[in-house]
Symmetry: C2
Subunit: 158 residues, 2 copies
Amino acid sequence: MTSAITREVLQRLATRGETLATAESLTGGLIGSLITEVAGASANYVGGAITYSTALKATLAGVSDAVLQAEGPVAEITARAMAAGIADRCHADWGLAVTGVAGPESQDGHPVGEVHLAVACRVTGEVQHRRLDLAGDRGTIRSQTAHSALQLLADSLI
Amino acid sequence: MTSAITREVLQRLATRGETLATAESLTGGLIGSLITEVAGASANYVGGAITYSTALKATLAGVSDAVLQAEGPVAEITARAMAAGIADRCHADWGLAVTGVAGPESQDGHPVGEVHLAVACRVTGEVQHRRLDLAGDRGTIRSQTAHSALQLLADSLI
């Protein structure tokens, strides 16, 4: 299932002649790993950051300290800034970002399963956001986050 | 098997009160994903970079352009620089880096399965390197690279 969506994303990027970078918090590299399972992914996927700690959301993905202090790591505005920031830092046409709570414990008042996805397009400057409220264990939440993020990106590439 | 080694790495880091950052090329986020499968990984794993493109090995992991131009992305010196660079950029005590050829095609004269692992310790300034020559398909090479890298790190943390 996830393999099909990664192939779809890479095909659509190839057709458009565009590139992608990722910034992952709760998935910790899972999205990048799924994309790079596909041979030839390097033609359209440049890489990105695993911004697992809050500090790296600033230093590697370019989220401002003001945003992180006001809203914290799990927030719509943080996901949007991560997506735009990683595309910018990596000189990619598209940025895909995920942040949220994989569990088993809630985080700063955010429940397990609260997830924010964002897709940024450097060409248009537009950033899309989607909030998920997922059920299940840590593994389920992480894999559903990865799949939904790739689906949101695929929909943006039509 | 890989789950056991990730738990071992995280336990040893916790005992030492130290942190880890990763820089991944051919594994594309697989190592980070495996580490963050473990609940509570954030106590000792800060994140890092997926330096899939050569350019990101410079911009995100701090490998010098001179090294990349002279030796290319698949080389011992590049793996060493990625490990030291990502630990530095992420203010982590340890840096773990992998670069190599997952296939199915060879790259710049390097055969499929040539892999370079490096572990950098910011406290001592030491960087260890290990070369692997792996057989098998893309998936096998990627998973064996991740496992061997985590094992090299575990051995360094004794």
